[in-house]
Symmetry: C2
Subunit: 245 residues, 2 copies
């Protein structure tokens, strides 16, 4: 028996998120089905990050155990021949039997992309949030710096969050513009339910001038979700990378 | 009666190209149907560039005549509310009744994008051609420079081309890499059938080392289509811009 780690990219547009749910097509379900078909043994993967419905990934992580004799690095090729084209394994290799993708210290990086122009662009409709109003990037950058560090992010998580603590550390929040795409890149040691999308929604409020940048600090200190901005829609969000420390 | 010019972006993945054909869904057909619905008069647009099945555009151009009192710049907003999300008007305005989008001197710019990495990326599957083998950008740039200028491009067009002359002027061919995307940007006064895709297929041969860069010059002088590289697939190609001179 060996444990295989997969790094998985997907376009989440047509999935009800990562995690298996009865009657819904999820990324986890598709991976389980294809691995089970490939290996002839029932496979149940364990994922690192349960991305929401409509959210994308460049590098989500999963592991599974198998008796297969296929070398670790060949699973990516074999699995990609079976997967639909909106899911592609980027890397596969054997890891220690004790490696668990959720019970480890990690740095996770998410990117939220905003298509900021007069009209939508068909080529960017699946992985950006279209927002036609003017955004002041300097103000968004100002607002973002209050989020960096160890904080209680209770104001920045959905009421549906179930967790022992809402304290997390954010290492960086980088806001930049490249032509008509505004990118918010957030790296942290962990994220609460909807946290990156609420950060994006709040920074957009700072960018339009609706919030003064300093208000983000007040929102953080209030521990009150209703003071933060709205949850930005899922299509703009991509889980870029999970680094195991 | 006034003439309105539209600048149109589309993801060509789900269309049998621009031009109306019986029994096929084309971009021209969708625009005609939606304009006819919007204006209550039968509209037949005239397009600038008949892009092929599966080819995309950021700025194709079309005109139509109407008795409508809608101001020229409002057609983009009105039409976008009716169009499917893979077609979006980027600009609309009134032009001279005599303006014809094909009977004018133009500079057209196409971009061919190659996703050059080990595994496909779901987020780039619709507008890049996935090519996993190593590409030498310097060799592609070397090869590209032979194409610049006024030449007979008979070797670089499909045998299906129907045209009085195969002489065209290419102003620039820029080959560059940004992370894992190799871009070939070609600007010229006009393009023959499949010309940009055959240029892309030929430059890929130069990039892999299959052709020496100098061979591109020999191919050009041969006037023989069979000596050029294969026609690269449509998904990598985007009509970026049509400039009216």
């Amino acid at each position: 028996m060996k444990r295989i780690k997969l790094v998985v990219a997907y376009d989440g547009t047509n999935y009800c998120g990562w995690q298996i749910q009865p009657n819904d097509v999820t990324v986890e379900k598709v991976l389980n089905d294809k691995l089970t078909k490939l290996l002839g043994e029932e496979i149940k993967i364990i994922g690192a990050s349960r991305t929401d419905s409509g959210v994308h990934a460049l590098g989500n992580v999963a592991v599974f155990d198998t008796n297969s004799t296929i070398p670790g690095d060949r699973f990516s090729y074999a699995l990609n021949t079976l997967l639909p084209e909106d899911i592609r394994v980027q890397e596969s290799y054997e890891v220690d039997q004790g490696f668990h993708p959720r019970h480890c210290d990690t740095k996770k990086t998410y990117e939220y992309k905003i298509l900021n122009r007069q009209f939508p662009l068909p080529s960017k409709r699946f992985d950006t949030y279209f927002f036609p109003y003017s955004l002041d990037i300097a103000k968004m950058q100002d607002a973002a710096k209050y989020l960096v560090g160890e904080h209680d992010f209770k104001s920045f998580c959905s009421a549906r969050t179930q967790t022992e603590t809402t304290i997390r550390t954010i290492y960086s929040v980088d806001v930049s513009r490249s032509e008509d795409v505004v990118s918010i890149k957030v790296t942290g040691n962990g994220f609460l339910y909807n946290m990156v999308r609420i950060i994006a929604g709040t920074l957009i409020q700072a960018g339009t001038g609706h919030y003064e940048p300093l208000k983000v600090n007040a929102v953080l200190e209030s521990n009150d979700r209703t003071l933060a901005g709205p949850t930005a829609p899922p299509e703009g969000l991509t889980l870029v990378e999970i680094q195991y420390l």
